[in-house]
Symmetry: C2
Subunit: 141 residues, 2 copies
DNA sequence: CATTTAATTAGGAATTATTCCTAATAAGGA
DNA sequence: TCCTTATTAGGAATAATTCCTAATTAAATG
């Protein structure tokens, strides 16, 4: 996800209104690496902007997904959002829920092979690995 | 997932009871390739065994997951179940929901690299690609 | 700056997949 | 056949997400 300024400009150019709610959400997503849930985004930005509703968070996330500015992954029945939209692997800690990124440049190739083999038209992909992070793994062996 | 007979034997040996409900669910999962949801499993086996409740389907699926006889993937807020438990890629059609398997032997390597790079202890992984199947893709281009 | 209007928001209700609860049932051992 | 206890049915509870609508407000216009 790009810088806030360019992003605001490009949204405005497309006819979208720039509201404090949208700025707060985008600003937060730009700087965090924690792959927050909608609820977590809501709670976090409420500290600074108390007048943001959860349904606005959801609607803004829909917009950002459509503009391909964030990607969504589903973890244990909950959507988590990621401003890192390049193809990468998300490592999910099954204990604390922490998510870490790992870039992997062979994903594109695999995607091409799968498309060729299956004849599907592939649009996006989602690769998650589940396990225990460095903090948690000592408790599980 | 193995054959029904061995599976029943091994479950019984572990002290689990063999009920008609469990047999119906396992039998169905063994022969289908459609990655059904809990609800779909329920509706399907009800035709043959009308006295199976949805909560039993859920509980049986929990058991089978724990025994690693089925794996679970989440697609659009719904869990889908797969008796193919080797590492593979699931191709999900975003129009009709069909899911197809693609085996990919480089996944193990990638998993090892990710584990090494991140120091996570990796337990399982889930690789989905989303797009349009051969039936649906003509409608989307 | 004041006015206009259509996009956006807040907040609660509705929806839906899943989990939880508990009395009734039945698998399997004796 | 009887007994014990795991399992089931079925409905209630839960929780994430979507839907609905009146009120608000961004930003275009003059
Ligand atoms: Mn990520
Ligand atoms: Mn599969
Ligand atoms: Zn952790
Ligand atoms: Zn399709």
């Amino acid at each position: 996800m790009q810088q806030l300024e360019e992003l605001v400009t490009s949204l405005r150019k497309e006819g979208f209104r720039i509201t404090p709610q949208r700025i707060a959400i985008v600003e937060y997503l730009l700087k965090t690496e924690e792959h927050p849930s909608a609820d977590h985004i809501h709670k976090t930005i409420q500290k600074k902007y108390p007048m943001v509703s959860l349904s606005t968070v959801y609607k803004t996330l829909d917009l950002l997904k459509e503009k391909k500015l964030v990607s969504e992954i589903e973890v244990e029945g909950e959507a988590r959002f990621d401003a890192h939209t390049d193809e990468h692997i998300n490592l999910v800690c099954m204990n604390c829920g922490k998510i870490e990124d790992v870039d992997e440049n062979s994903l594109k190739e695999i995607q091409n092979r799968a498309a060729k083999k299956s004849k599907y038209l592939i649009v996006k992909s989602s690769f998650e690995m589940f396990g225990y992070c460095t903090n948690c793994k000592s408790k599980f062996n």
